[in-house]
Symmetry: C2
Subunit: 260 residues, 2 copies
Amino acid sequence: MDTVYVIKIGGNIIDNEAALASFLKDFATVPGKKVLVHGGGKLATQLAARLGVEQQMVDGRRITDAETLKIVTMVYAGYINKNVVAQLQSYGCNAIGLTGADGNVIQAHKRKHATMDYGFVGDIDAVNTGLLQSLLEQNITVVAAPITHDAHGQLLNTNADTIAQELATALGKQYAVQLIYSFEKKGVLLDVNDESSVIPVIDTNSYADLKSRQLIFAGMIPKLDNAFSALQSGVSKVIIGKAEELQELISGRSGTTISQ
Amino acid sequence: MDTVYVIKIGGNIIDNEAALASFLKDFATVPGKKVLVHGGGKLATQLAARLGVEQQMVDGRRITDAETLKIVTMVYAGYINKNVVAQLQSYGCNAIGLTGADGNVIQAHKRKHATMDYGFVGDIDAVNTGLLQSLLEQNITVVAAPITHDAHGQLLNTNADTIAQELATALGKQYAVQLIYSFEKKGVLLDVNDESSVIPVIDTNSYADLKSRQLIFAGMIPKLDNAFSALQSGVSKVIIGKAEELQELISGRSGTTISQ
């Protein structure tokens, strides 16, 4: 079974031109089949401010009204996605940028909620792996923007972490998938303020133990729950760590590896 | 030899939501392999105005400075391209949106000119048909945005008519390509003010005759020169006419067919 790396980069890399260039140079050298999933960082918020489009936030979540959807489509699927693709091409990595609408790769529905209207936000229904496989088999790297569609003509703003997880799970049926979430920290830390306190491996047992002893920072719990759910759905390995250490994350010399 | 339709839609369709929806519904029903090439219409100009980015025009051509490139990338490759793809999906046409950077489909270089700097404008060097063929063979319709890249990380704003012609010519080696340029008029007119004066067929001889008698509206000459050049490079047929009459253009009941 071939390995596929599904790598999610965080906003801290997207927002920093030099960090992004350095990451993409590294990423281009990762051998074999790979998928890059990016979010939007602060660029969409900045464009909204320049256009005077007010951003509604409820419980820390952005409400995607029609104007905001237009902005995130322009920034995520247009500006960021195409610049990432062009840069990867310059580093000898043949990449293609996709949203979920392209080739009907990711179908979603507008989020339903009892009391809240999140606007044009998508919850994923299905990943169609046919086209993805065909691209990966042609040694083309997929760069996924966090936009999906509902198959009725509506684009939907969709969480990039969730997209990474859903792509990893779907590809897990045909490939040995390693899902890498990169963020600002070196990995899951025992002490949030100490970058040297990375927990190298977390498995189901040690996770239960760490949680019961309240040694896991609350903000990490959703990420780790998602990681275990991905493993249960057929992803081979989940790694969490710093984008700047991509090679080390892959080789296991850095970050936190989550296994069952 | 399979037929491929390469269809360019003009800004007048892009700018009109109802006209675009109706065109895409028609386009979705065109059987077989097809490529849609779109420009940007007035949307990029409008966004530039909202952002206070001044548009420099020289001899009727837009100068693409860094800020303008950012805007056209967002509008063409993001907003327009992804909305066209999502709409086509809703009409049962499995489409994928591409710029020239995606899969390295269209490589270009920054325009060189003795006295003028057009900015980030691309002149096309090469079309790589491998990925295009693979998509078309999977019955996936390609939607091309007028953005290319230079393989060194630079995106470039590129004329959509030229992209249509270059894609048609490159695909002409493997397919019987029909290149359709849609614009505001019903076809090439003998009298610009009379929509009923469409010339149904122009071939090399009649073109020379029409030109010598100055019966061709000056603005049409570059379009027709391009059409003949496409035919000489292996495109089977070029048709010019109204996007609203797509089915009739394909069946030859409307528009002007240009043949050698």
